[in-house]
């Protein structure tokens, strides 16, 4: 039968959890029931190792706010806008996920083609217009990144993000 999870322990940074609070927390755990982890979770993540080093020649465009979690800067703005930038500032891309659509703009760098990738490979490609704009229609939810190419031979990917 489903027994709720117990509290981690009775001590949290020197603050002991009184017995009645511990009982209340345990009762809440039983009342809410366990939240089963999907069976496919670990297996799917294990398979991702196949993607390692396929892109050794590519340079990553790092998400501005998430590059180093220890130094959180802001995070997402109200529109859920994503900004990626190369460390030296030579390439920058902005993305705005809309409902079933993804629009973006190249803010810096000479880029001509952009591809949308899922863990299983390229999903779609789009041209970048003279103003640096591009768009993908009918994009599916799931882990996603952009692969960008241009001149002279800039080949880049963005960080993975979730659509």
């Amino acid at each position: 039968m489903g027994e709720g999870a117990q509290p981690v322990d009775d001590e949290l940074d020197g603050e002991p959890l009184p017995v009645d609070q511990a009982r209340l927390l345990a009762a809440l755990g039983r009342a809410l029931g366990p939240d089963e982890v999907p069976a496919s979770l670990v297996e799917r993540a294990s398979e991702l190792i196949a993607l390692k080093d396929l892109d050794a020649a590519l340079v990553a465009l790092l998400e501005e706010s998430g590059a180093e979690p220890a130094g959180l800067r802001g995070g997402a703005d109200a529109a859920g806008r994503l900004q990626f930038e190369q460390a030296d500032g030579s390439v920058a891309v902005e993305l705005v996920p809309e409902r079933d659509r993804l629009v973006g703009q190249v803010l810096a760098g000479e880029l001509t083609v952009v591809a949308l990738e899922s863990p299983s490979g390229v999903v779609a490609t789009a041209a970048i217009d003279e103003l640096g704009r591009f768009a993908f229609d009918r994009v599916a939810n799931g882990p996603t990144r952009l692969r960008l190419a241009g001149s002279p031979a800039a080949r880049l990917t963005t960080d993975w993000f979730l659509l």
Binding site: D20, L28, A45, L48, K52, A70, A76
Partner: protein
């Protein structure tokens, strides 16, 4: 958290180093890391009230980030908290954008079954009171309590990372949240 029964198991820092060895060693190290941390990451995603599919995708996204960044981690021993922070950041970005993401009400969730009818009736009633009181808590308290109840448990470093708060604030906040919970229960309620 470093329970003594884990002493014989490889450390996260060693497994991260093994990712660069290639071949079987890389795949093995990756599968150990993934099995060790994925359930906690899933609990963090779910604590943002994301549906199962979105939470699972979020865990995959965080692992993909690690794949790209494994060589840049400053503190390899703090991998669990790092992964929880990635999940938190992406969850917040998603929840600000995807307002239509299905969220779950604690009242909808079913209670465990399996006891004699009279015991069950009494417990169903108490569980319903608890779920109702929980549903009336603020979002921050709900999130903290869910993280404290996750199974397998999260370390306090991971919970702090998931909440984006200092570890030292967790104890006092836990106490206040449980007080709020009790205040919302019927008079004379005994857990």
């Amino acid at each position: 958290m470093s329970p003594t029964d884990r002493l014989s198991e490889p450390l996260d820092s060693d497994l991260l180093a093994a990712l660069d060895e290639g071949g079987t060693a890389t795949r093995h190290a990756w599968s150990v890391l993934v099995a060790r941390h994925s359930p906690q990451m899933y609990a963090v995603a779910r604590s943002f009230r994301l549906d199962q599919q979105t939470a699972e995708d979020l865990v995959q996204t965080a692992w993909l980030r690690l794949l790209d960044r494994a060589g840049q981690l400053r503190d390899r021993a703090a991998l669990g908290a790092w992964l929880c922070t990635i999940v938190r950041n992406e969850a917040r970005r998603l929840t600000t954008r995807r307002r239509e993401i299905p969220t779950l009400s604690p009242i909808d969730e079913r209670a465990p079954q399996g006891d004699p009818a009279d015991v069950r009736l009494l417990r169903d009633e108490r569980d319903a009171s608890l779920r109702l009181a929980f549903a009336n808590l603020g979002a921050e308290c709900q999130q903290l309590l869910r993280l404290l109840l996750a199974d397998p448990p999260l370390s306090y470093e991971e919970i702090a990372a998931a909440l984006g708060r200092p570890k030292g604030s967790l104890g006092p906040t836990r106490r206040r949240c449980l007080e709020h919970l009790r205040a919302r229960l019927p008079e004379g309620f005994e857990p």
